[in-house]
Symmetry: C2
Subunit: 318 residues, 2 copies
């Protein structure tokens, strides 16, 4: 019976296109282009926290790479190389095969080379590190938002959190609604092309992994400004839009993580360029607010009044 090491070797044999040396040595060798910086990010996923125990292995493979691709998107970097370390409780061939398919299909879609990794026996743990290229000095950062800049978000927010609520039996949905929201939760589409398109246009960017208010709060903090967001402007998918008045929808849209959309700021005079990028990519980009002097994130209701987030379960943003 093959060990987990044999199975990993079988399903993850390197097929690289832009790598000097991958696999079979003490380290991989990669060569960034002249004048390029490397953007480097890592995410560790643990069963029960980042995916439900028993979740579809193909989806876990997809998601473990997607969350890392999303970090490249937020920097405007071209994702190029990735390493994968796995702790596996057992040599489960069906699981490894499905996980590999989800991971490698997404890698192929984004032309990312899997260059190395490590496998060990232990409680399920997936650690991915990604490396991408970006022209020196041009990466999108969290620190560039300035007073008067507009705040934008891609796609729709809250979908993954609503999908999770449905999985947990807290929210009844019709099958088509559920299918859409679960796909958003389990197979997020990292906004890699958007990040690159925003280079030279956006003044700051972040991916929404912890929730819109929390992540926009990181931009506000690093840029030393306040972000003002209008609740009515926040883009919701059909299911959420139909329930916009429900407290759960508010909570999922503002504090639900795992959507992996980009939130970014841009000077007001780049407004038309942002719209043009949306048209070119076929991806909705919605202006949801503006940057002001101050600190933190304010969400205004339809009457322009700050919404009392602390009273609605947002204490940890206090």
């Amino acid at each position: 019976m093959p060990s987990e090491f044999d199975l990993i070797a079988r399903y993850f044999s390197p097929r690289t296109t832009h790598t000097v040396l991958a696999g079979g040595d003490d380290a991989a060798l990669i060569a960034p282009g002249a004048g390029m910086e490397l953007a480097v990010s890592t995410d560790m996923l643990v069963g029960g926290r980042h995916f439900l125990e028993g979740a579809d292995a193909r989806g876990i493979g997809h998601k473990s790479l997607a969350v890392n691709l999303s970090d490249m998107a937020a920097m405007g970097a071209v994702p190029r190389w990735v390493t994968l370390s796995l702790a596996l409780p057992a040599a489960d061939e069906a699981w490894i095969a499905a996980f590999a398919e989800g991971f490698l299909d997404l890698a192929a879609e984004h032309r990312v080379d899997l260059v190395g990794g490590d496998t060990t026996r232990g409680p399920l743990n997936i650690c991915v590190q990604i490396m991408g290229e970006v022209r020196a000095g041009s990466a999108l950062r969290r620190s560039g938002a300035r007073v008067g800049h507009q705040v934008w978000v891609s796609g729709t927010v809250g979908d993954a959190a609503l999908g999770l609520a449905h999985l947990r039996g807290e929210l009844a949905l019709d099958p088509l609604e559920a299918e859409y929201l679960l796909a958003r939760l389990e197979r997020p589409a990292p906004r890699v092309a958007l990040g690159q398109a925003l280079l030279g246009v956006a003044s700051s960017a972040i991916d929404i992994s912890d929730g819109l208010v929390a992540d926009l709060g990181h931009i506000a903090e690093r840029s030393e400004v306040r972000a003002r967001v209008e609740w009515e402007a926040i883009p919701l998918s059909g299911t959420a839009q139909a329930r916009r008045a429900e407290p759960r929808v508010l909570r999922c849209a503002l504090a639900g993580g795992d959507d992996y959309e980009l939130c970014f700021t841009a000077p007001a005079d780049r407004h038309d360029e942002v719209r043009a990028i949306a048209a070119r990519l076929g991806l909705p980009l919605t202006r949801i607010g503006a940057i002001e002097a101050g600190a933190g994130v304010d969400v205004l209701d339809a009457h322009g009044k700050p919404m009392p987030l602390a009273q609605r379960g947002f204490d940890h943003f206090g």
Copy 2:
């Protein structure tokens, strides 16, 4: 009470010296020098497999970086940047502080910048990825050994495995012997300077993490040659040398992992250069055999007869 995230932020605040951007954004930014390739390696350590549960946290911090530094050594790369992902079962401040001290002291010693990472709640898991620079085309690989080249090893082998046997109560040692062997097990010194010194001299290299015969076997396989090793030539520390006739010492020296010495090959006419490197670094380098046509690894006894490894618990090298 601080969370594990607060504690990680407190004890791991980045103090970098050669990094464009570290921490606080979606990715770190690094810039390899012109004409340099990046060597990239990752190792995942799990409690109970790579260190004993309850082991000294400072030692675990040291070792989790040391094993990655050792991969850079084996490639001849200058280690430069590292990321650290941690799954922690609880926010144990004393543990995190000690772990950070072991990790960061070794990082400082080797001038390695900690540029990013991830922290999550879960069964203890440590995943480190290291990136080092090496001039394009010059990295040491496993594939360069040729017939007639000499086989060398640094330091002494088997120490870590003997230390582990002592910890497990299988081997009685006097306190000074035990202290030395346990230090070899718990605080290995990666041979980073040696790896760099061997660039242009050695024809292949590997670090001894799985055991001398297994790791030299990787060189033989990748180079498509046979390695012949003389048991009597293999360098042992004092404790092991005094017990050289014991089966356990043989087993630890040939199959014990975790020493993180380098095993390498070099053409016979580079013999004096290798000796000069040993003198300059103050690190014993011992010629233990030679490369021949064929496949696999032969270990010869004092009479020049191949030792029957399979009968001594080496079946997994069959």
